[in-house]
Symmetry: C2
Subunit: 79 residues, 2 copies
Amino acid sequence: MVVDVHHLEKKFKFKNFRQALDLTNQIGERAEAEGHHPDIYLAWGKVELKIWTHKIDGLSESDFIFAAKVDQLPTPDTK
Amino acid sequence: MVVDVHHLEKKFKFKNFRQALDLTNQIGERAEAEGHHPDIYLAWGKVELKIWTHKIDGLSESDFIFAAKVDQLPTPDTK
């Protein structure tokens, strides 16, 4: 089976800007640590991620690994 | 004269992710201080802002004030 998907998306909602900024920083630090950087859309009360491998303009194993690590972050609304 | 513009845009380019994240935090802190929050698109080597007033779904004086304050930030590439 081939699944033609260009990127992974994750969306988070919050009750304020601060929590969204905090998550952006958590994701940003993780991205630096992993050397794998998502695109991050930050607005009041929300963070949206797009994760893909720029070099191949598509998905690789490291995208799924990074997405799994983001899932493990203690997001502000679940603390 | 009427100018029909929905939002202000500002784009910044950097040589890495860290500088883009740093500017995102500078803008985020300023947004919290002003109570005026732009949409921020953060990716490796770039930050893009969209500034408008959600309540009127268009531009107000405070958008121009916020944009001017962003211009005054010591962005990482000009430090």
